[in-house]
């Protein structure tokens, strides 16, 4: 019953619904990449370097979005890139969700020195601009896709902790918590079984927005040469490769960025829609 009401509230938001559809299709394409992609993303096609998209003069119907500087099919690389980016988003959200929820719950539920220690850590992380913090983490761990995921998760952590902590504090003040305490329930039980489920709305919204931030930041790291490394078909890496060909091959520059923009935009719209549906007060 509750879910049906939520779904109806969510459906009223056309933008969010459309985003959900677009993202579902993208996820499907990413999952089915080996069957959907017309070529192998790493396959070098001899004699078709810098081929423009199929609809332009000089284009070839085999390569819909053209080829890159060493003759790889741009469309296939974009499709495999969706795998990388959506996968990165999912891993970042999983990591921040687990650590953020744990730390936020600890800080909000127990308060005292635990709270102030965690908050100090959050302050420190927040005193560095997000990309710089990610760069610092990469500087320590070395540039790779895995390390980029860790770096981007560290960046996303502070806002997550804050949101979980704030909603835990709000829940903790409610009478049902006192009632549960008087039944003799343990702290762990109250925190996990009673309080956490009631904080789900802001957590879900933040997780959705975390997807867009994670994908954007990981792509930025890839672009700076500090994330995924070539020849991985990652959108940020593709953009950085394309920079030298900006004067001759516009499709190499426009397509990967367009993909990033669409995915980030959809996750933002989806997050907004979920927020409106889950918690009308936050509007």
């Amino acid at each position: 019953m509750e879910y049906r009401r939520l779904w109806r509230a969510f459906c009223r938001n056309k933008g969010a619904l459309a985003s959900l559809a677009v993202l579902s299709i993208l996820c499907l394409v990413a999952l089915l990449a080996p069957w959907v992609a017309p070529h192998d993303p790493a396959e070098v096609h001899e004699g078709v370097l810098n081929l423009p998209p199929a609809w332009m003069s000089g284009g070839h119907s085999q390569f819909w979005l053209g080829t890159d500087d060493i003759g790889r099919d741009v469309l296939s690389r974009l499709i495999y890139g969706a795998r990388v980016s959506l996968g990165v988003g999912a891993m970042v959200v999983t990591l921040t969700l687990s650590f953020g929820a744990l730390l936020g719950l600890l800080a909000g539920y127990f308060g005292g020195w635990i709270d102030s220690t965690i908050l100090r850590g959050v302050d420190i992380l927040m005193s560095l601009p997000s990309i710089l913090l990610a760069i610092v983490v990469v500087a320590v761990l070395g540039p790779s896709l895995t390390n980029a995921v860790i770096a981007v998760s560290v960046v996303a952590l502070p806002s997550f902790i804050r949101i979980v902590r704030a909603s835990v504090l709000a829940e903790k003040a409610k009478p049902y918590v006192d009632a549960t305490v008087s039944f003799g329930a343990s702290h762990t039980r109250i925190a996990i079984k009673n309080i956490l489920p009631n904080c789900m709305a802001p957590i879900i919204v933040q997780a959705t927005l975390g997807f867009s931030d994670g994908i954007l930041n990981a792509a930025a790291l890839g672009f700076l040469g500090l994330g995924a490394q070539p020849p991985t078909p990652e959108w940020g890496v593709m953009l950085s490769d394309a920079r030298s060909y900006i004067e001759t091959a516009w499709w190499m520059v426009t397509m990967p960025g367009l993909c990033i923009l669409v995915v980030v935009l959809c996750f933002n719209l989806l997050g907004d829609g979920l927020r409106d549906a889950l918690d009308p007060k936050l509007k």
Binding site: R120, L128, L132, I135, V138, G225, P256, L261, L265
Partner: protein, 355 residues
């Protein structure tokens, strides 16, 4: 009594006192954060897997003397606690070590580049506010019109924009295709400008090279500033629209209209003043976004600022620069947040003494 959000009806002395207290309190609160950041910056070099000295000397092959010198230079030959206190006491005296790459003091390198980033950031914020507020006002006034949808749709896209791509697209359109703006740098190589203030727009005025050099500096600045200002612009436009819509519902707006004031007069004189508070908050929040964006924007446009410097030093594994740069960036962020807080208190008397 409803207080007006700007100065009126408030003694200046009271305001100065409140602001002074606020600054003091915030400085005290930021001490633990600074200690934490310094610890992070300090441990950075030591966290790197493997021997950082060998890492740095690796390509050239290290003689024992060179190795010892490098180790001493990085301060790695002493116990950890001693190293940390040495680092902090030197940092307090403005000594953040020597760049491995350029052999120059880190603080000097920072100060050379900092004005370039500030100039870019200021112009970007200026553009975001200058365009964002009028767009937000018009969208609010023409609510649910095609114009409103266009502005809000644009703001939504702008807010999600991967700005490293946006920069490339603008270069593609304006520099490559139309040939209107230069692709990179701060000024044409034709001019040799003496960096008196570090702000190219000011320095070109002072240099005697005249109008042409100023125009060149401006042409180099426009695209990066537009790119960097995109996300703040979207945020400001959205916030202006929503807070203005809220204010326009208030009774006093109807009263002002009933007195016979023109609609736009009421919007600009009465409504906007009250709508300004959330707008200032957003501008303050966007400063962080601008610093983040600067790192990407500077890389795309080869803008010789802090962002490009730090990215290059990570790629080159210039650890003293990373260490010092991180600390200095954190200080900048903390200082900027303090200024935003103070501004906020000046504009909004209801907030005074509450933060």
């Amino acid at each position: 009594m409803i207080e007006s959000p700007l100065f009126f009806g408030d003694s200046i002395r009271n305001l100065v006192q409140v602001i002074f207290q606020l600054i003091l309190r915030r400085l005290v609160v930021s001490i633990p954060t600074l200690i934490g950041v310094s610890l992070v910056a300090f441990l950075l070099i030591r966290w790197v897997p493997g021997d950082p000295v060998m890492l740095l000397l690796g390509e050239r092959g290290a003689s024992p003397e060179l190795y010892a010198e490098m180790k001493r230079n990085l301060g790695l030959d002493r116990p950890l606690v001693e190293q940390y206190f040495g680092f902090v006491s030197q940092a307090l005296q403005g000594d953040l070590g020597i760049s491995i790459h350029s052999k120059r003091p880190v603080i000097e390198e920072f100060l050379d580049r900092f004005p370039a980033t500030v100039e870019l950031g200021l112009i970007a914020m200026f553009w975001a506010v200058l365009a964002g507020i009028p767009l937000g006002i018009l969208a609010a006034v023409k609510r649910n019109s095609p114009f409103d949808y266009l502005v809000m749709g644009g703001a939504l896209v702008g807010y999600s924009m991967p700005i490293f791509w946006w920069g490339l697209v603008l270069i593609l359109v304006f520099s490559v295709t139309l040939g209107w703006t230069p692709v990179s740098g701060r000024i044409s190589v034709m001019y040799d400008i003496d960096p008196r203030t570090g702000f190219m727009l000011v320095d070109t005025w002072l240099s005697g090279e005249g109008w042409a050099s100023f125009k060149s500096a401006l042409a180099h600045l426009i695209l990066p500033a537009v790119v960097l200002g995109t996300i703040p612009l979207a945020a400001v436009a959205r916030m202006t629209r929503s807070s203005l819509l809220e204010v326009l519902r208030e009774d006093y707006i109807r009263t002002a209209r009933a007195k016979g004031l023109s609609f736009y007069g009421v919007v600009v004189v009465h409504a906007l003043r009250n709508a300004l508070i959330p707008i200032i908050t957003v501008v303050g929040l966007m400063v962080g976004a601008v610093l983040t964006g600067a790192i990407l924007t500077e890389t795309i446009f080869s803008w010789p600022g802090i962002g490009k410097w730090l990215v290059n030093s990570v790629t080159a594994r210039d650890y003293p620069v990373i260490q010092g740069g991180v600390l200095l960036m954190a200080i900048v962020v903390i200082a900027v947040n303090l200024v935003v807080d103070v501004l906020y208190q000046v504009v909004n008397p209801l907030m005074r003494g509450k933060s």
